[in-house]
Amino acid sequence: MRTLMFLLRKEFRQIFRDPGMLRIILIMPVIQLLVLPRAADYEIKNINIAIEDYDHSVVSQQLTNKIISSGYFKLVGYHNDYNKGYELIERDKADIVLEIPVDFEQKLIRNNSQDLLVAVNAINGTKAIIGNGYLSSILMDYNKEIRMKWLPPTRFNELPTIDIVSSNWYNPNLVYAVFMVPGILVLLLTLIGGNLSAFNIVKEKEIGTIEQINVTPIKKHIFIMGKLIPFIIMGLVVFTLGMIIAVVVYGIIPVGSMLLLYLFALVYLVTLVGFGLLISTYSETQVQAQSLTFFFLIIFNLMSGLFTSIDSMPHWAQIITRFIPLSYFIEVMRMIVLKGSHFHDVAYQFTILIIMGLVLNTWAIINYRKTT
């Protein structure tokens, strides 16, 4: 135990003596947490629409007005030339082109039905689906209005109508930051904890001090613990800073237990730092450690469910996400912070993280060789 204390004292001295390092550990995450969640807004508004109106009738005018006044669409072009609208799509200026054909109003009355042409830029699939959805429901509404006007009231009123009331639990105003902040906080924690720990032992290998340690009678697990603990503590400091920002800046007050959050943060950090140390023991140089960390962190990042929903991934990809510790912690963070989930709700994730932590750290201790 006493040896451990000397190790810890040394590690902390080294961390605090490197201002560049401290800046990265403390200031970078704060700035990123202040800026980035505001970027992560999936809500689709301001869909750019170009309307090619070959009809120029009362109906086509009304329809255009209705689309613009819905608030979802921004009119970026209004002509009577489909090619112009198409060019706007090519230049990424428009997401949707709506073409109202010649004699739309007359044909609607004469033929009882008439087609409109909608062209959607689907490179961004979500935007296409959602924008298209909005447009369809506006068209449907307008259709209803026309019928109400043109049909005898008795006939119309007899149509069965299903009213839909929707409510959004846990985040009634659909504030995106509420969703992103806990996730981004976990991500930053991962980047910092993963990097620092992955680099640390390798650095001692490269400068040669590890030889000096290896020739001492120090126990392997004590040495690994001496590396593990400082990063866990630094991680908890970053986590605390992040939580303060979440509360003060974003007004996100965790619904669930703070204690449970910290318990999870602790278990997660043990797992993560174990992973970093494992990389460290497999690398000879910092460049190698960096390559490995980079490889894994990007995968962790994009497959964690932070940016795209895990549910929508193909089955094999969902299986991969189950091996990513980050995905568990992000899920749990959101559950505890936003929904106030209790320990029994997250016991499964807790168990998995504990198992991962044990495996990774044991592996790191075994793989760290004092004797080659």
């Binding site: 990265i24 990123q32 980035l36 970027a39 992560a40 807004d41 999936y42 809500e43 508004k45 990424d92 009882n112 039905s113 087609d115 959607v120 689907a122 490179i123 699939g125 979500t126 689906i129 959602i130 447009l135 429901s137 259709n143 026309i146 009123n157 007899e158 149509l159 069965p160 299903i162 009213d163 929707s166 409510s167 639990w169 846990y170 985040n171 504030v175 969703f179 980047l191 910092i192 990097n195 650095k203 910092q286 460049v287 190698q288 960096q290 390559s291 490995l292 490889f295 990007i298 994009l302 549910d311 929508s312 991934m313 193909p314 990809a317 936003l338 929904k339 989930s341 209790h342 709700d345």
Partner: protein, 368 residues
Amino acid sequence: MKQFINFIKKEFYHVLRDPKSLLMLFGVPIAQIVLFGFALTNEIKNSNIVIVDNAMDNASQKLIYEIRASKYFNVGQIFMNPDQMDAAFKTGKVKLALVIPKDFDNDLQHLHTAQVQIIADASDPNTATTLTNYMTSIISDYQNQLWQDGGLPYSILTQQRILYNPELAGAPNFVPGVVAMVLLLICVLMTSVSIVREKEMGTLEVLLVSPFNPFLVIFSKMVPYIVVSLINLTIILILSVYLLDLPFKGNLLLLYGESSIFIVCGLSLGLLISTLTDTQQTAMNTSFLLTMLPTMLLSGYLFPIENMPLFLRILSNIIPAKWFYIIIKSVMLKGLGIKYIWRETLILSGMTVFFLTVSLRNFKIRLQ
């Protein structure tokens, strides 16, 4: 010139002799394109939902049948009790609940109106909105079925053309973004760390005091990464077209030209970071934090830029990946020519020149 080639040879040896670095240089892009090309999608399918059916009548059964038939939802249990619903949300296993009122069928037939409630777990607002939209459209379709029996006139119908990506796959949107991110990260990281490494080991001084022009020393460090990045780009393009079935509509030469500008831009940024940091660890962390998250979040491939607050929209302009993302989408997926992307090209070139000038100036200061 012979000296210069020797320097470049030395750098290639550094890069190629280390299998773990090779894993990063070639393994990362391949794994990521394949993984993310298939795995990332914004479409939400097979979401678990619950239905609280208080009616249990003919109409509610029919509606539930419609919902079950859609690919979007997995209808789990059918509950009666709101408390159970809350508990289900808290475990995170259920994303949406539909509450059908008592006497649903009866009300529809006689009062001609009935109200259903959709409750979404909005802790994830994106999923909540999307699922609510899906559910709404299923219910509307169901309502239309009811109406069709009435044979209504004056129907406005739509004919749709889905451009560029008719299957609405995630890949066309994400792959260009991942390409931009991977190229940038590798270039920035590798350059900054490899130069700082020589700084740390003291070998940079040796090179810089040699009679050889110091700028050529720096330049020779960049050459292997340009080559590696172009090889990577080729691998990525082949995978995208043959594995992910992405269309390649544009001019290949133009794409390589634009990519070269972007690669040099990344290398210059790496160079700049290397002049500002003294240890490999700091260089790596700076590169990582400066490129990874901002690229993911501000380049537009994960989140639409036009939705962002003004200051972020302004900030996004200094993200090189944003411009490259636009370029690669335009050239590759839409087949557009330089006429449409000259502005983006100019901006990327300007950034490159800026990074290079500042970092070379920093080096000069160091040398004096």
